[in-house]
């Protein structure tokens, strides 16, 4: 049962990612990226990361990609303003050939690891142990993240302002 679910989610994730790279219109790419991200959140749930499953759906599919689609619709890009990519398929094919050695290297390194997961029946991946870990060992990075978000907010406002002549 878990295997069927895993294969289904993995094929949806990879299919969504391929669609994102191959589609010409940015809206189609964004919609297939949403498919890929929701399938990935299912994979997180299979890895018993229930809190990150929710965070992935809420933050990625709910906020980031929605913002992206909003911007795409806001810009109202015509077909003439899209870049023409006459050699897209050739560069994609050559690039995928070039990426094979990297994949072989990393997958061989991981193949040596012991492969099956330890089965323990505690509340691994729930919100409470994650919060305990976060505020016991990772307090300073957590606070720095808030500063980073503030800086990004100010930067986005400064970039988005209409410049005076």
């Amino acid at each position: 049962m878990m295997d069927i679910l895993f294969l289904l989610l993995a094929s949806f994730a990879i299919g969504g990612a391929l669609g994102m790279v191959l589609f010409h219109q940015p809206v189609h790419s964004a919609l297939s990226l949403i498919l890929c991200i929701i399938a990935l959140s299912g994979l997180f749930a299979l890895l018993s990361a229930s809190f990150l499953f929710m965070v992935q759906i809420i933050v990625y599919a709910g906020a980031i990609i929605t913002l992206l689609i909003f911007i795409i619709m806001f810009l109202n890009v015509k077909e003439a303003n899209l870049p023409k990519e006459p050699h897209k398929n050739i560069t994609l094919f050559l690039g995928s050939l070039g990426l094979i050695p990297l994949n072989i290297l990393i997958l061989r390194a991981f193949y040596k690891l012991p492969s099956s997961f330890v089965e323990k029946n505690d509340n691994f991946g729930d919100i409470k142990p994650l919060g305990m870990e976060l505020f016991e060992h990772w307090l300073l990075p957590f606070e720095l993240i808030s500063i980073l978000l503030l800086v990004a907010l100010i930067g986005a406002v400064v970039f988005g302002r209409k410049e005076e002549a």
Partner: protein, 106 residues
Amino acid sequence: MIAGSLFSYIVVAMLLLSIGLLGVISRKNIFVIYMSIELMLNAINLIFIALGRHHHSMSGHIMAMMVIAIAAAEAAVFLSLIVVLYRRKKSLDSDIFRSLSQKESL
């Protein structure tokens, strides 16, 4: 026994990472480049969470959460940059934005 092994998750994550890298190096639309970066961050998240499950420690989850927060910050800045660039040049072609390039700008 596919869903219970670390290696299958790593295979999926590496495929997603390769597709993202492929999108960055071979597409010209800056929206697709941005989405490919997001996809690569997601693939790294999957590796973090699979390794956290493998070692039965929560640190992988914490790292994945940090990556999600950084991706949110990156989304805001990148999308406002895209808006500014599109307002100036009326195009989404990443080859047009080359006024900082050392080659002669077209």
